[in-house]
């Protein structure tokens, strides 16, 4: 696969799947304003994913569309990070997942806005405005969890402990990514890792949260190896396109 298409899919798939999880929270928020905020972030992410899928389809030039890429691949052909597909166990899991990924997106998009690839630079610049707000919101929730009640601190701690194992994957470059790095197209993940660490340390400090003692890490999303949750996401998402492949919606 063309390195650029593969790299685009890593970014777009992660945004699409995270957006899907956030959208599942509709009518499940702790209060109406938060319910709406989650679908709002979901909308921003699906918008970013759509632009990138359309561009990837254009590069492939095989007659497929952005929607085909989003809806008509097999499980092992999706390259999203495994963190984005983790379930909405409770609002703390949802928001810790969001905080880790907002921080990642913030620094990733900051770097990509300087990419030599003008499409990526433009998408990153546009999405960065939205992600800046996302990060502010999820950071504020982390601080509230950590300084709110005993229960909120415990739930946030559990979520950090459960999700930490999926964070290192964000910074492990795929071959496509490394190939594009030399051309000034993809973002330097080592640099982003340092910035991510600093931000997470700062917010954890303000939230009375600690990095887990168990530093075990899981990898695989960028190679198409996912958690068991992922098949269920796809079977819902692709239900209509699978059942009625000829239909236009």
């Amino acid at each position: 696969m063309n390195s650029l298409v593969k790299y685009y899919l890593e970014i777009a798939d992660s945004a699409l799947i995270l957006s899907h999880r956030l959208a599942e929270n509709s009518s499940n928020g702790p209060f109406l304003e938060e319910d709406l905020a989650c679908t709002n972030v979901a909308l921003d992410l699906i918008g970013m994913a759509e632009s990138i899928y359309n561009e990837a389809a254009k590069i492939q030039a095989d007659g497929s569309t952005g929607d085909d890429l989003a809806y008509r691949r097999s499980e092992w052909e999706y390259y999203n990070n495994v963190l984005s597909e983790q379930p909405n166990t409770d609002f703390a899991h949802l928001m810790v997942r969001q905080f880790f990924l907002d921080t990642y997106h913030y620094y990733l998009l900051t770097e990509l806005s300087k990419s030599k690839n003008s499409f990526l630079a433009a998408v990153a610049t546009k999405s960065l405005k939205e992600v800046t707000y996302h990060l502010r919101r999820s950071s504020e929730w982390m601080i509230r969890f950590g300084n709110g009640t005993d229960e909120s601190l415990k739930r946030a701690t559990d979520a950090v402990n459960n999700l930490w194992r999926y964070t290192e994957e964000l910074f492990k470059a795929s071959e496509a990514d490394l190939d594009l790095r030399d051309k000034g197209i993809s973002a330097d993940l080592e640099l982003i890792k340092k910035e991510w660490d600093a931000k997470v340390n700062e917010v954890f400090y303000l939230s009375n949260l600690k990095r887990p003692e168990n530093q075990f890490q899981l990898f695989g999303g960028k190679d198409g190896k996912h958690s068991e949750h992922f098949g269920y996401i796809l079977s819902e998402m692709q239900y209509l396109t699978n059942k009625y492949p000829e239909a236009q919606w």
Partner: protein, 312 residues
Amino acid sequence: MNETLVNQDELLKEFEEKIENEIKIEPRDWMPEEYRQHLIRQISQHAHSEVIGMQPEGNWISRAPSLRAKKILLAKIQDEGGHGLYLYSAAETLGVSRDQFIQWLHEGKAKYASVFNYPALNWADIGAIGWLVDGAAITNQVSLQRTSYGPYSRAMVRICKEESFHQRQGYEIMWKMMEGTKEQQQMAQDALNRWWWPALMMFGPHDSDSPHTSNAMKWKIKRESNDRLREKFINKTIPQAELIGLKVPDPALVKIGEDQYQHGDIDWTEFWEVIKGNGPCNQQRLEHHIKAHNNGSWVRECANEYHIKSNK
């Protein structure tokens, strides 16, 4: 000293003069208790309807068949939640908190639109809800823009702008499906068959059987009668159905003039059963709302506690 005592008759006269002269009643104005109670009931019911209405549509978010369809559906559901927020705020100006409204909903003391007690069973239901349910709602809400209570009227102006998009987006889904495969056409017709009558019931009982109508009309809370609004909706919607090849599921329907139709009998037994709680999804909708609210209690406590600590 007697001069400072409030004369109820004078106040009522002033209030009625304002109503007569189309001057909006504002939260700090004197109003008859019955007027306040009517508004509390109506606006909170309207707010709950927007919020509960997010559930049947939310049922299809994870299965929306294209990125565009998913974006539109997410944005629509978000709009509905936003309408809920405007309306809770408008209702709060009458001296009752949102927490209290939600408690009444959970206790079964407050109602929401019965139409949301029907299930969304195939993708065309998303089209039918937008086209018919939002279409019926907007027919009612256009007239409510002129309602006599200021905060309600202003909320309705904003809401109407968004609802008219929803109605068009819903119709677009139906139209696309009717241009699509045989299965898509079947789904669209099936959705119309199931949503047509509940949409007509949204306007409420016939004027002769509507318990809240008379004072509401006198005080201009309600500007047009149930039957008149239902008639407007039918006359507007039937040509739209015919244009895309859908058949309205009413064998007794007759055309009585240019874009004027007379519908067959509405099943009022079903209507009252659903209001009483015996619709296909009454229990599910309310239980879902209660469960989400209860699951979120630790989050609200955390936010309140943090707010208190931060302001010390």
